[in-house]
Amino acid sequence: MSDARAARGSPVRQRTAVRGENTGAPRRLLGAFGEVLITLGVLLLLFVAWQLWWTDVTANRDQTSTIQTLERDFADERQGGPAGKEPPATLKSVPFGKAFAIVRIPRFGAEFARPVLEGTDRGTLKKGVGHYQGTAMPGVVGNFSVAGHRTTYGRPFHNIDRLRKGDVIVVETKASYVVYVVDRHLLVTPYQMEVIAPVPQDPGAKPAAAWMTMTSCHPKFSATQRYVVFARLDKVIPRGDGLPASLMAAPSGAVA
């Protein structure tokens, strides 16, 4: 075989064949093995690039388009669609996976707006902020609980740790602007369900106030803990009255 190869091979390969009968095959095998390792290494780097950069690109694009659809939808309602005569009813339940609200957080930048979808499975959280099924709807007594990515997939809650007591969170629904004010934050294990209880951190208690809970992973790029922010309902502004610009003013030390 080495003769045949030497006969049609390039000068380089002829030389290696001359050096010894046994070095050729192992050497080529080792070379191929090295190439496989290098390829795997490059693929890993490519995966990191995809996860940290590309998922943000696609998710931001998708979420922006969802926001536009929601805004159109909400505006139609105000101008009087089929049921436009009477004010739209408060949300009671939403089908799984459907976007039903927009969350705006001035601390994250004046332009910050993310869709809120029903459900918190992986697929839903790629499309925006997920609403824990069974928890209260925005503005009503109970605990409106949502989860969002800290990193990757558009990372809506990337800066959740920058929220300070008194920061405004606006949840825009078809009917109204629901304004929550940040109360406190907490680090918990991923299994501490009591943070999304109707009365946060007091499971079993009967709710008398409207709360909002935001959860995201902590530390960044880890799933060890959850960063949890509790916000208390401040007011509900009917959509017709419009959102006061002063409310959306960026607080000092805001991200963008």
């Binding site: 995966f47 992986r122 959280l125 969002g148 918990v188 299994y191 501490q192 790029f221």
Partner: protein
Amino acid sequence: MYPALWRLLPGPRPVKALQCLILLLAVVAVCFVWLFPAVAPYMPFNDNTIAPGPQSPGPSQ
């Protein structure tokens, strides 16, 4: 592996190089569209929800 690929591709050098580039882009596309999304759920940094788990119900804080 790669020398073999280079020998397998037809045409003169520039044509071979172009084919390599196309193959590379195809591999990247396959990774981005199918492979990586399939692998991502097994990565440790994509969980951000509170869920009932092995320690549930967790200790109250």
